[in-house]
């Protein structure tokens, strides 16, 4: 993807008060380690040469999930236009891991950042064809105004960070 697309993604995330960090695959583990607040749980990262730091527990128990402050998950792709990440419902629990902890750290390959919603739907359709047919488009932080004023972090995370793998 062009640098412009990532730039657009970054600007959209800025508007949503979501941080974006670009990092090489080699440095990713260290960067994630620095960003997470412990205890942290995660779903394993499918990107070549990238692994979760040891401080992030994979295949967590229900108790660990409930206690975690941070959840780290890969996302299938991201939509630059809206600052959206596509969390896939996988058997290793990416969906609940991205949802329950206060903070979600989403890891995406730069080549998976698509410019707009139409391109996002193309990716979505490809995934559906391959059996990945449950996906959440998550944009920014969980929010509500139901209690009389805008508050973030209701049922979902109140903090979100996105890590873009520059060379993946």
């Amino acid at each position: 993807m062009t640098v412009d697309t990532v730039g657009r993604f970054e600007r959209a995330l800025e508007g949503l008060e979501v941080g974006l960090e670009r990092v090489s695959a080699a440095d990713a583990s260290e960067r994630i380690e620095r960003i997470v607040e412990e205890p942290a749980v995660g779903a394993s990262l499918p990107f070549e040469g990238v692994s979760l730091p040891a401080s992030v527990t994979t295949e967590p128990t229900a108790g660990e999930l409930e206690a975690a402050r941070t959840g780290v998950t890969p996302v299938g792709f991201a939509v630059a236009e809206y600052g959206t990440v596509a969390v896939e419902s996988t058997a290793d629990g990416a969906e609940p891991i991205s949802l329950y902890p206060d903070r979600h750290v989403a890891v995406v390959a730069e080549s998976d950042v698509v410019p707009d919603l139409s391109a996002g739907f193309e990716r979505l359709a490809e995934g559906f064809d391959a059996g990945r047919d449950s996906v959440v488009f998550a944009t920014g932080r969980s929010a509500t105004a139901d209690m009389g004023d805008l508050v973030h972090g209701v049922h979902g995370p109140g903090d979100v960070d996105v890590i873009v793998l520059e060379d993946r």
Binding site: E59, T61, Y82, S89, T90, Y100, L117, V136, M147
Partner: protein, 775 residues
């Protein structure tokens, strides 16, 4: 009887204005402003709306097939589809699912009372699911914060998207402090939200079954789409091992690619957000592991069978512990599909934009402007379809046909028309009333008995005006007399606090004839053209003498004639039939239909002769440009629409084509003016030409952005709506009151402002007319 129910309605509306109006207005108008801004910033918004509309038309057309398609898809995924005929059927099925699931769980030694967590769903409100489940001994907890507040308060939704919009933060704090008795009393939204999250979070993790609605259901993949900002729907769908989604059958769309425009537009129209926080597309049962929080030491990936395979591994049937049921609700929808007038309602995606854009809704909210379940403009269609006409009849008159919602609706539903149709049906089903004799003689309409006398009176206002004009000024003195006002209030429901229009003895048509008719007008136009030596425009105008311009606001008609002549265009003002606007606003479609035909016949020759029809009153032009599409043959409708213009729009065209503005009364270039266009004029995109003409003629107009003047033809005269009308009108009045000069295009807008501000509010054309027609 009519009087008692009027008084009852008036009391109820007054109560809502006082108790809920402020909170509703703050939020609904805010969402509406944001929607406006977002629509404007979205380049392809019109394409999106058109596409969304087309998909819905197609989907509803193929609905029986789509039901079969989704059944196959969900079953192939490992879930179950149940089509429920009505509320009782759906409720019994859901209760069964919950009981079966709990029994299975009890074998594993778990809870006694089955517990269900729900995300927000108007469809489950429609069938009263919570009550039905409670009757079976099932605990139900709403997890959307707004819905939960209502559950705690034992209240009902006042808005289809923001259900607790009518309750302020302070009221929620008071409620929660009383109910939950915290150590430190709650005060801020932050504290309330945190408490709610923790409280509900525990209930969710312990729940046996999660129930959600669905915003869209993709038939060929069995995908449920949930659109939320809080994340509770995700939790309800994924945390318990059993997920039940309840959706109206109309939520089906054919394929995944059909989902795209809806994902793109639904948050824009609902709240003005570019996209919602969470658009959850689940094809359940999903691969996500079930979460068993009462075995905190078990890995969530279970026995490892699925977990070990890691991300991306799917066998197409999801986690084996998961159970999924899609309940598709008919409850009248298949009949709506067969109903040519109500079918459009099924395209609705429940975004609430029609509520937010509606001035009356902003003042009273869904507890006033709503039926058993649904609220806002489209509720008339929904209530008539799912609960029956009586439920719609309760609030249908609150739609004044202003058309503000028409440009807001993401699927381009003609919401005002649905309201007109249902009003017509309600009229026809009512019993004849005792005052019928009073209006019978006055009202040569095409309606059968049973119509409310007040509606019949206003629907036939043309005939009334003609009679009153013929007997003016005596009719005016009489109408103003105390006993007469009391009688009018009692019989026709005309509020005695409202000034009645003063009918003029000399109508516009009479005035025009007396000054020499078309021959004199041609002469004047020729002289003006010769004087200015400008371009020969070669146009001829038939000025439409609408009821108010002809009998009440005659000055603006004269101003229109003199303006056109001064710009070199000869005018005729024939005595033409009513447009049908008045009848339409009272739901008298048969009468309007006849009037449309008569009016078209009366101007057909002029149209053939190449004359332009120019209209002063925007609501009459709107009838010709919008409703006539349904009342006239297509060719006639197109012909009239293409050759009819709003007066200032027409003047704008003349100036653009070389007419000389110096023949008019021009300002010094900076004279400030407050201009309130007319609701229907705005929908026709005809506010801009008036602004442009005023600017070209040396004025500096600022436009109002208030939704409506609140008068809306007959609405503000009616006893039961007088106070609401004033409440809406005050918002406009406050916006414009500081300007030295105020002009308004609609008669009712002008009347309302004149009453509230106690000063003259002329039509813009009176300002522009040569030699200051303006008084």
């Amino acid at each position: 009887m009519a009087q008692r129910s009027r008084a009852g309605t008036a009391d109820r509306i007054r109560h809502l204005l006082e108790t809920e109006g402020e909170a509703i207005h703050a939020q609904a108008s805010h969402s509406n402003e944001r929607r406006n801004v977002t629509y404007e910033a979205t380049d392809d918004i019109e394409e999106l709306r058109t596409e969304a509309r087309a998909i819905k038309e197609d989907a509803i057309d193929r609905l029986p097939d789509l039901i079969e398609t989704v059944r196959e898809a969900v079953e192939a995924n490992g879930g179950t589809v149940y089509v429920a005929d009505d509320a009782a059927d759906a409720n019994a099925y859901v209760a069964d699912v919950v009981e079966n699931r709990t029994e299975e769980n009890e074998v594993a030694g778990e809870t006694d009372t089955p517990s269900v967590v729900k995300s927000k769903s108007m469809t489950t409100e429609e069938i009263d699911l919570n009550d039905a489940l409670a009757a079976e001994g099932i605990d139900v907890t709403e997890t959307d914060l707004g819905e939960w507040v209502l559950q705690v308060a034992d209240d009902t939704p006042s808005h289809i998207v923001g259900p607790a919009m009518h309750i302020s933060r302070a009221e929620i704090a008071e409620l929660f402090n009383e109910r939950f008795d915290p150590d430190e009393p709650f005060e801020t939204a932050e504290e309330l939200t945190r408490f709610a999250r923790d409280h509900l979070g525990e209930i969710i993790t312990d729940a046996d079954v999660g129930i959600t609605g669905a915003n869209f259901v993709v038939a060929d993949s069995g995908t449920i789409t949930l659109v939320t900002n809080e994340g509770n729907a995700r939790k309800c769908a994924v945390t318990p091992d059993t997920h039940v989604a309840v959706a109206g059958v109309e939520k089906l769309i054919p394929t995944l690619s059909d989902l795209e425009p809806f994902v793109d537009i639904i948050a824009k129209s609902a709240t003005g957000q570019p996209i919602s926080q969470y658009v959850t597309m689940l094809s359940p049962p999903t691969d996500s592991p079930t979460l068993s929080f009462d075995s905190p030491d078990e890995p969530i990936t279970g026995d490892g069978a699925d977990g070990a395979e890691g991300a991306g591994a799917t066998d197409g049937t999801g986690d084996p512990d998961r159970d999924f049921h899609l309940v598709l609700l008919d409850n009248g929808r298949m009949d709506m599909r067969e109903d040519d007038q109500l079918r459009e309602t099924l395209y609705c995606i429940r975004c609430g934009a029609c509520s937010n854009s509606c001035a009356n809704f902003q003042s009273v909210g869904g507890h006033g402007f709503g039926g058993e379940t649904y609220s806002g403009g489209i509720a008339t269609g929904w209530e008539a379809g799912v609960h029956g006409q009586e439920s719609a009849a309760e609030f249908n008159d609150l739609c004044t046909g202003c058309t503000n919602c028409v440009d807001a609706c993401p699927v381009k539903i003609d919401i005002p028309w649905i309201n007109t149709v249902v009003r017509d049906r309600v009229n026809r089903s009512s019993e004849p009333e005792s005052y019928d004799f009073l209006v019978d003689g006055l009202t040569p309409d095409a309606e059968s008995g049973g119509l409310d006398p007040g509606k019949r009176f206003f629907g036939n206002i043309g005939t009334v005006a003609k009679a009153a004009s013929a007997t003016a000024p005596v009719s005016n003195w009489l109408a103003d007399a105390g006993p007469v006002r009391a009688a009018l209030e009692r019989t026709l429901g005309i509020d005695r606090r409202r000034d009645l229009p003063t009918f003029r003895r000399e109508s516009l048509v009479d005035w025009f004839d007396d000054r020499g008719g078309e021959a004199a007008s041609s002469r004047r136009a020729d002289q003006a053209a010769a004087r200015s030596g400008g371009t020969d425009l070669d146009r001829e105008v038939v000025l439409y003498p609408d009821v108010y311009t002809n009998y009440v606001d005659v000055e603006r008609g004269k101003a229109a004639v003199e303006t056109l002549e001064a710009l070199g265009v000869p005018v005729r003002v024939p005595d033409l039939p009513e447009s049908g606007r008045a009848a339409l606003s009272q739901g008298m479609i048969a009468t309007a239909d006849e009037q449309a035909s008569r009016l078209y016949a009366a101007v057909a020759e002029d149209l053939d002769a190449g004359r332009d029809v120019v209209v002063v009153e925007p609501s009459d032009l709107a009838a010709m440009h919008r409703e006539y599409e349904r009342l006239l043959p297509e060719a006639s409708f197109e012909r009239l629409r293409e050759n009819s213009y709003e007066i200032c729009e027409y003047v704008y065209g003349l100036l653009e084509n070389g007419a000389d503005p110096s023949a008019l009364s021009t300002g010094d270039g900076a004279e400030p003016i407050a201009y309130h266009s007319h609701c229907q004029q705005r929908t026709l995109a005809l506010e801009a030409p008036t602004v442009a003409v005023l600017e070209q003629c040396g004025y500096a107009p600022t436009t109002s952005d208030a939704e409506c003047c609140g008068m809306a033809g007959s609405f503000g005269y009616k006893r039961e709506y007088y106070e609401l009308s004033v409440d809406v009108g005050e918002r406009l009045a406050t916006q414009v009151e500081d300007a030295e000069t105020i002009v308004a295009s609609g008669t009712s807008c002008g009347d309302q402002l004149e009453t509230l501000l106690e000063r003259e509010v002329p039509h813009p054309i009176e300002l522009l007319a040569p030699d200051g027609r303006r008084t």
